[in-house]
Symmetry: C2
Subunit: 327 residues, 2 copies
DNA sequence: TTGAAAGCGCTAACAT
DNA sequence: ATGTTAGCGCTTTCAA
């Protein structure tokens, strides 16, 4: 790695001039040419580490997500990346595994690496943003909110739950169950509250066990669906509150040999890579990519110095009734 | 951000002693205590940027993959991450979109950020590793190889293609087509060569158009399958050379109303998040996570100073016949 | 417009 | 065992 000193020597100018050339400062055309020539000859690339130490910040933003193998979060990541790249920022992706310890570790790295900012899908309600917030590094929470005074972008989860459940009701189902995520997580809590609101208002049949809590993954959805089917009075439809649990639920239905139309399904999220639509289902599309783009845009504004009070942007999900689920 | 100077002042020791405490050097228990106390009080975290500028390297490794939304690559990333974390390294994920320009951009960042090393799934045969190799930064190519003298981990793609095709033949299919990836990419080239070898040796029926080239995504697989079904003498089975194209092929089959057992399918890769197995199919599992772990282990060895000549590790895929595709 | 020089926070060589 | 000090490569005053 050549340094500005070597370039300066070769070009016959001072290191400061080389720096100026690479930072769009006023330098005479002649010297500019000399510097570029020398830089090319030496394959010079400015050392970002030094630049960062000096300037106390870098053009890198971090995105902390709980599960990199969940298509919802990879889509979100794409949204962030698209937006960040346009602004000349690079994206660093970190997998927290929903583990507050890993999350904290990565947040420390963000600070000590002097990254420009961080977008975070919090692992739990007990995120510790204290350090990073008091440091003044911009933070945007995405998908879930936090108790800290930082920007947030989320989905109207309650409305999504309401939309999904209502669509099932209108399709004629009357015993509508819900496979919710882990108790105590805001996102899934709101979605299941939406479900509860509708089943209560519509006076559908409701048995013990119609609300199943599961982990957010495929196996959780599968186990929950099995439990539902094993009830004395099984439901005739189910709302799954995320994408992967829906996959598990479908697997359990198929394994139980339930006929396509005999059971109603509403999915919050995109059914990832579905080869076949086994049964028409209600889909509430969650705008993952858009969530990412919005979060990135907000973060970039903060990085740019915007100091208005923290905002929370709520995006609305789009409900598609069963008929429209053609490939 | 507190600095070692502030900690040193508060603890009544020299900056060097603070540094030693945080780097496992010999420091008396008493001073160690004082330093820790002061550090805690000031919420001190060592500044990685300064440390890196000083030490010319960091505990970060980069992973460059062509498509973060492809489960094959996210599984690979998990493998890398698991291994890296155990060794105290953090992982930075970069999405190249199969674009050599983006790839080069990220490689420059790797160098100028003084990351410890990089694991790369090359976008094309024309990767430009010249700069990073001559800089001496460890590089491991994964999934695809490169013309440069760097370590590589790949799958025995030819054997995978052979296994898939043979399994279809043994299941009784005689008109076996192949949906290959873009021409000129080594990975897919080898897989389709395996297919060709078997169809030639077994003297199966082979028509023009039985070899379809497609992009690596769902839409590519779908289009290719449609083209196959539109042939005068359509095939009775197909080998798809990656996971996403298989999803597309299944979609096209379902759309065409082809009955489950009427058409043979062999998939190279995991069918991601399959809710239902529409038809028994041959699966050649590609050890994505293992690929990642292996690559990470090799990279860490290089980072540790290992200077043996470049190695290429070839992992074998595992063929599962149709019967075993239970959920 | 250009150059000289002072750090950014840390580590390691050297001295004590 | 501990302190002093010289950089790592860059940006940015301050002077010229």
């Amino acid at each position: 790695m050549a340094t500005i000193y070597e370039v300066a020597a070769l070009a016959g100018v001072s290191p400061a001039t080389v720096s100026r050339v690479f930072n769009g400062q006023t330098v005479s055309a002649e010297k500019k040419r000399l510097v570029h020539e020398a830089a090319t000859k030496l394959a010079f690339t400015p050392n970002r580490t030094a630049r960062r130490l000096r300037g106390q910040s870098s053009e890198i933003i971090a995105l902390l997500i709980p599960d990199i193998e969940n298509p919802f979060f990879t889509a979100l990541a794409r949204g962030v990346e698209d937006c960040a790249r346009e602004a000349g920022y690079s994206l660093v992706l970190c997998n927290t595994d929903d583990d507050p310890a890993k999350e904290l570790h990565y947040l420390e790295i963000v600070a000590s690496e002097q990254m420009a900012g961080v977008i975070l899908a919090p692992a739990s309600d007990e995120v510790d943003l204290g350090a990073i917030v008091s440091l003044g590094r911009p933070v945007v929470a995405v998908d879930r909110t936090t108790p800290y005074p930082v920007d947030a972008v989320k989905i109207d989860n309650r409305a999504a739950g309401i939309g999904a459940t209502t669509a099932l009701f209108e399709a004629g189902y009357r015993r509508i169950a819900c496979i919710a995520g882990p108790a105590g997580i805001e996102t899934t809590e709101d979605r299941f509250l939406g479900w509860r609101q509708v089943v209560a208002a519509r006076k559908t049949v409701l048995h013990d066990g119609y609300l199943q809590h599961a982990n957010f993954r495929v196996d959780g959805g599968r186990a929950a669906m099995r439990a539902l089917l094993a009830l004395d009075t099984p439901p005739d439809a189910v709302v799954t509150t995320n994408n992967l649990m829906a996959v598990g639920a479908l697997q359990a239905l198929a394994a139980a040999g339930i006929a396509p139309d005999a059971f109603g399904l509403a999915v919050l999220g995109e059914l990832p890579f579905m080869a076949l639509t086994p049964t028409p289902f209600v889909q509430v599309r969650l705008p993952a990519r858009h969530l990412g783009r919005t979060a990135a845009a907000m973060l970039l504004e903060r990085i740019g110095g915007d100091a208005q009070p923290p905002r929370t942007v709520v995006l609305r999900a789009e409900v598609n009734p069963p008929e429209e689920q053609a490939l």
